[in-house]
Assembly symmetry: C2
Homo-oligomer: 223 residues x 2
């Protein structure tokens, strides 16, 4: 692996583990046993590393979500897309956490992230259209589809943060399984639109991701 | 206003405006024209200020959301709750942005925020039960209600971040109106469950929050 690749890999690992805010370029260099000067030869600053990692995240998501337009999407394929997306969120989990800060610090990233969101919303709409073409759900009008896609995006991109803040899980307590429980939550958005012949299969597939723990965790609510 | 109150007010303003990450206790003291020593007399560190602001945020939300259990909730009251909640999000908008960092830095806050989330989810469930008792929506079973409440929470708490990241709005471009467009999105979650006699009124009320701008912003999607 080239030094550049090793820097990116170590940065991603450290950012995911400790949070980008708690990791300096000096930490990254020390972790790799290289000099800060060597690191700066490859990346001017931490924002450059974050940007390069974003490009890889984006390439992966775009590769995962090659959804043809105007073609039916089976339930099986829809769940495959969901699993891939949640795997991607896990692999780059530091990114959505400090997103606002990254975008403020780097106008280039701000613009590209905005386009990336639009692209993802577009693909989600295609999937919704596809499962309607496969008769899984009833057809939706443009406004319904856009709203549904946006709700999906909000649930998907914020699921990790919910696990860490609202459930109080530490990072080590969040595994791939906990993360994929987000799929249960996402699928709940489409249940009301599912056509009767597909309801049983949709619910059966959804249940496979049902939270194993009480959810929210057992506690006394005030008031 | 006491010095303590002035510190809290200035901190909230600066955190909202610049992001907590970009504001030090020295900035806060300088902004108020007091010495850092005077500030430290009232608060040991920035985390203590964040904690005190959280207590006020929580008190406000709990005050806004006094929802009696097992009583019908009218559509009008539901929309009032939504407006109040989005006003609260706006007033304390720095909080959800760096939430993960705050909770990591302060175990006391982590536990209280977890309880606060559970309380809020509980209240959202009560509202859902209330609009079912008022025949606005069809009755939901426990699992459906919990899932619906959680989707509501995810959309509400992440709407601000969506405006700032996915639309690329700068903080100054986000006004109360843009924020309240989140209400449009939240209400879309309940539309599939609305009973026919209430559908027209629900949609009419929802449309009042419809985004005025194209949404997501007009752009070319790749791929």
């Amino acid at each position: 692996m080239s030094t550049r690749e090793r820097i990116l890999k170590a940065s991603l690992d450290l950012f995911n583990e400790k949070g980008e805010r708690n990791v300096t370029t000096n930490h990254i260099a020390a972790h790799l046993g290289i000099s800060p000067g060597n690191l700066y030869y490859h990346f001017r600053n931490k924002a450059d590393i974050v940007y390069e990692i974003f490009l890889r995240y984006r390439a992966m998501v775009e590769d995962y979500l090659k959804v043809p337009e105007g073609k039916p999407v089976s339930l099986e394929n829809q769940f495959t897309y969901l699993e891939l997306v949640f795997d991607g969120l896990w692999a780059y989990r530091f990114f959505h956490r400090d997103l606002e800060h990254f975008l403020e610090a780097d106008p280039r990233l701000r613009n590209e992230y905005r386009d990336f969101t639009a692209h993802c919303l577009n693909v989600i709409e295609r999937i919704i259209e596809g499962i309607a073409l496969a008769d899984v759900i009833r057809p939706l009008d443009d406004a319904q589809r856009a709203t549904f896609a946006l709700n999906t995006w909000l649930v998907v991109t914020n699921w990790m943060s919910f696990l860490k803040t609202a459930r109080g899980d530490s990072d080590t307590a969040i595994d791939r399984e906990a993360l994929q429980q987000g799929i249960y939550q996402v699928v709940s958005l489409q249940i009301p639109f599912v056509n009767p012949p597909f309801l049983e299969e949709t619910i059966r597939r959804q249940q496979a991701y049902q939270p194993q723990v009480s959810f929210p965790p057992v506690m006394q609510a005030r008031g």
